[in-house]
């Protein structure tokens, strides 16, 4: 690719974007960190750091495992109702993580729905295992989308058939051929989920506090929430810097590994056979459906029931139902905020994917560095990144949507980039050559050949960024101004000090309309099919 993109302004554009979106804000943060480093009482403890690392690694491993298995299942095995299965696996992406935590707690936690019904509760839900599990379930669609995109653009079926006819069982073929070919995508997904894990706040806050399990993010929250003392602020920034550093180290180590293994683009080849072989996996499919029901649908139902119930502790039966909790969560500002959130999410998704594609296009050392820089933005906890953006752009852009957009793009650029990078590596150069010697300029070739081939990745990344942005709460609640409050902010502002039914209602409001809006789109518009290309 790099050769094809020679003599284009791409490196310049990417450099400018890195400088503006990541460089400047982080430089401001580093400035603060340096200033406060010797401040008495600024030293954070070790325990939250260990806890955070555990959550990050655990979530990354579990999520990539779940996402990749799900992708192999829906794209490679013979399963009935493939479209619906895809939809089911994607479902959690529509649910903000803190809603997942809340709903799991309501469904499977102590005195949750299951506990009330049959006296069963999920051991360990409160604590690290539960945190990892819920983060993973929430992030599985991310890993799934990235893997599916890569399966579409990288690992073609004929390569697996070649392994089978060389004597490999389906499992061995997956291990030796399919998964290695997916390595860049899996690593990309792993990096993102690792960062999601170490950055998670809602889930550890809900599931960790009762088990006295603190992570860096909950500590940062506490430091900022309790008082405006300089040392608290300093400690928050130091902790945030620690997160960034950890993400940087882990991800660049992974990339170095991958880079040593080398890029493995497949030369353009005549299309080979692509049949679906093997027996229909009915049992496994049924099992996956049960898992989806238990992991996503049941908790959501529990949540809806809580939101409908008049007061905590009452049985969730129609006699105790009320819409008051919803009424409390909605008011006149809701619609304006909904519009702004949608606009911001659209813009953020488009810019993050656009910038991500650019970085993915630079397949050299500079591109890798830019990719890491983008990841830094994602690794900085929302509250800290918002402070950094405020320090850099606050005076110029105060109270504008642009300020929030900058923060969104700085944060979510990495999601756009990693979604695409795992797939971009395998666009055979000949396909681009062919376009150019048919008379297409670079930009035309990108538009007509490269982007369509990357469509599964581009669309997947876009959807992810859109949802992340749509659900974003921390940064917007710090950056909004008169007339620029977002949906999550406007709902959050109505919340009464952690009143459980109302916050359940809030969660339902953030989730259910998306579900209701998305499902017909997914089904009638056949979106997963289009999103992932043909087949």
């Amino acid at each position: 690719m790099i050769r094809l993109l020679r003599n284009t302004p791409l490196p310049l554009v990417v450099s400018v974007a890195v400088a503006l979106l990541v460089g400047w804000p982080l430089a401001e943060l580093v400035g603060v960190a340096i200033e406060v480093i010797g401040h008495p009482g600024a030293a954070p403890g070790l325990e939250p750091i260990v806890n955070t690392a555990m959550v990050g690694f655990g979530a990354a491993l579990l999520t990539v495992g779940l996402g990749a298995s799900a992708a192999l299942l829906t794209e490679r095995a013979r399963v009935a109702g493939r479209q619906w299965l895809r939809l089911g696996i994607l479902l959690p992406v529509l649910i903000p993580p803190f809603v997942s935590a809340l709903s799991w707690l309501r469904a499977y936690g102590p005195s949750g729905l299951l506990d009330d019904a049959i006296g069963l509760e999920l051991e360990g839900l409160l604590g690290p295992l539960g945190i990892i599990l819920v983060i993973s379930i929430n992030a599985t669609p991310l890993a799934y989308l990235l893997t599916v995109a890569a399966l579409r653009t990288r690992a073609e079926k004929d390569l697996e058939l070649a392994a089978r006819v060389s004597g490999a069982s389906p499992v061995v073929a997956a291990r030796t051929v399919t998964l290695p070919l997916l390595a860049p995508a899996l690593l990309g997904a792993g990096a993102l989920v690792f960062v999601v894990g170490i950055n998670a706040f809602g889930v550890p806050a809900f599931l960790g506090t009762p088990a006295s399990f603190d992570t860096v993010t909950t500590r940062i929250y506490q430091d900022l929430a309790l008082s405006a003392r300089p040392e608290s602020f300093a400690r928050a920034i130091l902790l945030a810097s620690g997160l960034v550093l950890a993400a940087l180290m882990v991800v660049s180590a992974g990339e170095a590994l991958l880079h040593r293994a080398g890029e493995t683009p497949r030369r353009a080849a005549p299309s080979g056979p692509s049949p679906q072989i093997g027996r229909p996996l009915r049992l496994l499919t049924a099992f996956v459906w049960v898992a989806i029901a238990l992991a996503t649908i049941a908790p959501l139902i529990a949540l809806i029931l809580i939101a409908l119930t008049r007061a905590p502790g009452l049985a969730p039966v129609p006699a105790n139902w009320t819409m008051a909790n919803f009424a409390q969560a909605l008011d006149g500002r809701f619609l304006g905020a909904l519009g702004r959130s949608t606009l911001l999410a659209l813009l953020a998704a488009t810019s993050a994917v656009f910038l991500g594609a650019m970085v993915a296009g630079l397949r050299n050392r500079f591109g890798r560095l830019a990719g890491l820089a983008a990841l830094l933005g994602f690794a900085v906890p929302g509250s800290t990144l918002a402070v950094a953006v405020l320090l850099s752009y606050g005076s110029a852009l105060r109270d504008t949507l642009a300020l929030i957009l900058i923060a969104y793009v700085a944060k979510l650029w990495a999601v756009g980039h990693r979604s695409i990078a795992g797939s971009a590596g395998n666009i055979a150069p000949e396909l681009v050559y062919a376009a150019r010697s048919s008379g297409a300029s670079i930009s035309t070739a990108l538009r007509t050949v490269v982007f369509p081939l990357l469509r599964p990745a581009l669309v997947g990344g876009w959807v992810l960024v859109f949802l992340f942005a749509f659900h974003e709460l921390t940064m917007s609640s710090l950056l909004y101004g008169p007339g620029t409050d977002t949906l999550a902010v406007s709902i959050l502002n109505l919340q009464q000090l952690g009143d459980v039914p109302v916050s359940s209602a809030l969660a339902v409001i953030l989730t259910v309309p998306l579900l209701i809006g998305a499902i017909p789109l997914l089904v009638i518009g056949n979106l997963p099919r289009r999103l992932m290309g043909t087949g």
């Binding site: 405006a228 905590p312 502790g313 405020l390 005076s395 959050l492 000090l497 009143d499």
Partner: protein, 300 residues
């Protein structure tokens, strides 16, 4: 500091972490009384609000005329930094002595109370009872909310209790939950037999029919207040007028209508009892130490 940046576009900017409907009600009343005033509210949870203020202070772009916060913790720092204007509102006398200083003034009162499972035979009647009760007792995490920290501050600094009170709670089956709301929920669902929470949250649940009872501790609820102050560098006469208005009887009634205990004793408020107060200045100074002691008990 933001001193040089005093803006004079005539807009009154309020940075607040107080609940939206309360702010809305007060601002609406103020605007009605002062049709020329333009008011902009920036509301955010305490953490986000202090981060924003810190950031704006750093680059000198702080535009707030008024801080109106949930609890008296962060505002201590602003006062020490000389950010706040020292002045005496006309309504100052309406605010009890223990709920104000020279630069910030209480606007409403929050009380930490006991709640108990409604089916409990022997309900606890005072704080000490919580350490002897049979069953788990839910404690809100003082790291998460100022109100929970108030309880920690009160007990740890009080010669009658001391930090050992928490050790006793823990030994007797005390469980840490995230927020006062979670305490209400947990007790209502029968997960805990009793807990420490905010009166407002408990009252709402009881009124909606939750099977819990609210116990006003015999020795008194731990009371904290939501302070309001003028940012010295920015605040104009309008800012002072706003605070005057908040402390007025009219505004206080509006606050009471949104479910919060007014600071003025001359406004009708049925749900009250004995109050215990905290030395916020001391609690603020020893914040890290208190939290560390607490964590050692609950997380160590």
């Amino acid at each position: 500091g933001g001193g040089e940046q005093a803006d004079d576009d005539g807009v009154l900017r309020i940075y607040t972490s107080v609940t939206q409907d309360t702010v809305d009600a007060v601002v609406a009343g103020f605007e009605e009384a002062n049709p020329d005033a333009a008011v902009e509210v920036f509301r955010a949870p305490t953490g986000e609000l202090s981060a924003r203020i810190a950031a704006e202070l750093r680059d000198g772009s702080l535009v707030a005329d008024i801080f109106w916060l949930t609890d008296p913790l962060s505002i201590q720092q602003y006062e020490r930094d000389g950010l706040l204007r020292e002045w005496d509102p006309e309504n100052i006398e309406a605010v009890p002595q223990e709920f104000r200083t020279g630069s910030f003034f209480g606007t409403r009162v929050l009380n930490m109370v006991i709640i108990a499972d409604g089916s409990l035979m022997e309900t606890p009647s005072d704080w000490r009872d919580l350490t002897g009760i049979e069953g788990d007792v839910a404690i809100p995490d003082p790291g998460f909310a100022g109100s929970a920290f108030a309880a920690l501050g009160f007990f740890a600094l009080s010669p009658d209790y001391g930090i050992d009170f928490y050790r006793d709670l823990k030994d007797n089956g005390g469980v840490q939950v995230r927020s006062p709301g979670d305490v209400v929920n947990g007790v209502a669902e029968g997960l805990y037999v009793a807990g420490v929470t905010l009166d407002r949250a408990a009252r709402d649940a009881v009124e909606a029919g939750s099977p819990i009872s609210l116990v006003w501790p015999a020795s008194g609820a731990i009371s904290l207040y939501s302070p309001i102050a003028v940012v010295d560098a920015n605040g104009t006469e309008t800012a002072e007028a706003f605070i005057e208005y908040v402390l007025s009887k009219e505004a206080q009634s509006a606050i009471a209508d949104t479910g919060w205990e007014p600071i003025r004793e001359d406004v009708d408020w049925p749900h009250t009892g004995a109050k215990l107060t905290i030395d916020w200045s001391l609690a603020f100074d020893r914040q890290d130490e208190l939290l560390a002691d607490y964590r050692e008990i609950f997380e160590g």
